[in-house]
Amino acid sequence: MRLAYYPGCSLETSAREYNHSVQLVGRLMGVEFHEIPDWSCCGASAGHTTSRLLALALAARNLALAEEMGLDVVAPCAACYQRLALARHELAANPSLWERVNGITGRPFNGTIRVKSIVEMLLSAGTEKIKSLVVRPLRGLKVAAYYGCLLVRPRAIQIDDAENPQVMEKILRAAGAEVVDWTHKTECCGASLAVSNEEVAIPIISRILKAALAAGANCIACACPLCHFNLDIRQAKAKRFLANYRPLPVLYLTQLLGLAMGQGERELGLEAHFVETRSILKMVG
């Protein structure tokens, strides 16, 4: 499978371990990534919060670039995925807006390519394929799969049910992990409030951690750099709201998958997390 690759800003810097693990696992699964040359920021929430046209234009430019490559595009970052997929959906639904946006970017996007989330990419190979690559089943791991908002909302771009999605669980089970049924997998992590208004974000984050702990999880799997930042780095501050706190490592879905497929902790960037991941390694053995 050949795919245009849209890493997005975070995967270049603060989420570089996500980038590495996606590339590693992707390659193992036979995906050929072609990074979009000169990709630019998807606009993220600052974009659509400021102007609908701006948000669409920033996303459409990248869609157009991928289209020039003639490849469907995968965006590992859930936020980038949502922005790109939603822009594609909104443009397709509104031809006059589409024309306007094409005029603004000066790089016409014709809607011939699709946007894929990392989960879709992994599942399109099939769970059997994943199972066949597993050399170190994640036995002993009790994973709380965390989707956050961006993969399952709004309806137009959701990759699975918004209240009780199962696709990440499917992948994790194929990797030999046990998944926990928990209640906050599609609640919001507080997004950039964790930067702009930390005191608002911390209770939001702690609610999610509390639910994962209560479900007996020993780690969280996610697919979004911002979710990861909030749940991992902010865990230190969120823990004071939690009565029965124990450290809850937060790993990217592809890191867990990489582990199962025998990749080393260095390659997968496991050391780059705030909450120690050594417990995980010990369990997996």
């Binding site: 049910d161 918004a162 209240e163 009780n164 049924d181 209640t183 906050h184 639910a211 209560a214």
Partner: protein, 660 residues
Amino acid sequence: MKRIGVFVCWCGTNIGGVVDVPQVAKAASSFPGVVLATDYKYMCSEPGQELIVQAIREHRLTRVVVAACTPRLHENTFRKTLERAGLNPYLLEIANIREQCAWAHQKQPGRATEKAISLVRRAVAKASRLEPLFASTIPVTRKALVIGGGIAGMQAALDIADAGHQVILVEREPTIGGKMAMLDKTFPTLDCSACICTPKMVAVAQHPSITLYTYAEVEKVEGYVGNFEVTIRQKARSVDHTKCTGCGTCWEKCPTRVPSEFEQGLGTRKAIYVSFPQAVPNKPVIDRRHCRYFAAGKCRVCEKVCPTGAIDYQQGDQLIKEKVGAIVMATGYDLFEWEKVYGEYGYGRYPNVITSLQFERLINASGPTGGKILRPSDGKEPQSVVFVKCVGSRDPAKGKEYCSRICCMYTAKHAHQVLEKLPGARVYVFYMDVRTAGKAYEEFYLRTLQDGAHYIRGRVSKIYPEGDRLIVRGVDTLLGRQVEVGADLVVLATAVVPSRGAAELARLVGISCDQNDFYTEAHPKLRPVEANTAGIFLAGACQGPKDIPDTVAQASAAAAKVCALFSREEMAAEPTVAQVNQFLCYGCLECQKVCPYRAIEPVTVSENAAGKKIERTVASVNSGLCQGCGACTVACKPGAINLKGFSNEQVLAEVDALCL
């Protein structure tokens, strides 16, 4: 040549004050075919009618035009006048010069007069083309079919039977009683549901005029008002009810347990079972889907223990044909399947989130807990119970747009029952509005408030387990705040929807449904218990969500309508029906496609063509079914169908007259 008389009415000053009546009469006297044109103060009065009768006789009138008020008021009056004078009543045409002329154009008397003349010209033109029509009669089979054996069907059946007519009651479940038999108490009086429902069930079973088919379904309906022919499928019970005594040994010994429909999944039954101890008939059926013998070919325990040898594994379905004159639809309701769409409430994964009907079983003395409110997960008594209203109702996104009408009251009842049975328990009711229109309903709700139920205005966004409790996350819009309640038990007031299969049954019977599959009444105000097909009547929740008093009232109303239909051996059919000119018809049957009453059927006619006898198909109208809408006349390409009383020639003549 027709001899037409025109009678222009002054209606006191109502018409005469605006329209120059003598001038209208004068103008009319010159219209083709008019031999007499005259006016009178009040044409509908006794002397006015007498004037018409005399004129008909004196001037040998063959057609009559009355220019007066709307035909919707006095057409029948004047038809009777014609009949008195020995004329066919359908040789009358009315010119509406009051409602549609004098009253509407009071400020322009000159133009009103001009218009009145034009309207009379139209009436004369039509009158000259009127033909005598004769009301036909159709025989009425004085036997009714009632579909559905819940409280609506039982009430309708009993009322019709008590009036001396035969009734066939068909129920698809193994017992009659319906939803009401599952309920614990009824609002607002709190009397015991079983105490008032089970006697009705027994009365139905014992009534000499009622034939009861349980575990049976209507499979086919043919014919028309007064003359339906229905086919009923008696599903195989695998038990010979003529031998069975209902002793109960079989279901005691049956080794297979399955969730009980009657207990709403909170309890179990056996594979051979009666739904509940007071079931009517109180004899079992074998649920073949779950029976070991039918599934694996082994077991036959029931057969071995049956003292009368009533078990009959070979029993097959039976088709029964019945002729009836009227049908009462009483198919009731089901609960909206909330667990398929409400992910935020757990998709039915949390055992302590139950429906209101499950709660009825939980609090029912004959229910799975013996009437103790115990939560399903661990059988503990809940200390905090949350009720959520409008689950599926008033929710276009996930469910239905309409209000289910009964939930506000039964939730108030449930809240009251919890507070009564579990002193010290806390009760929260999340609501959007409290709707208590009904006798003594608001008083009951207020009493529940005083009992200590907390009513929280707002919807619930999420229900999720935390430890062994449920967290209910909602809003109190009166406080303008998010709220959270810890609950041991959550009861969802799920929407009332038509019972499963209602739409298919409607198609089979030939009536229509609204967008929610509730049966459509003939007129929302004036004919609320009739379906839009003659001879079919509606009772209870199949027509829309209803509580028990309204259901019983509608059932009795439907029964009264049936009895009215049955009051004579024959019924008159309106003569203004469609008629096929079979010489012109070439059998395309486009007319059949647009007929809403299935009144058109193909028939084969044989005729001589060039010395050879040939057979061809033509359309034929069943005048018993035809309601005279005329849709077929427009669909007919060769112009072979015409509508009596509104024929093409008549309408064209009217158009011509108006355009002069």
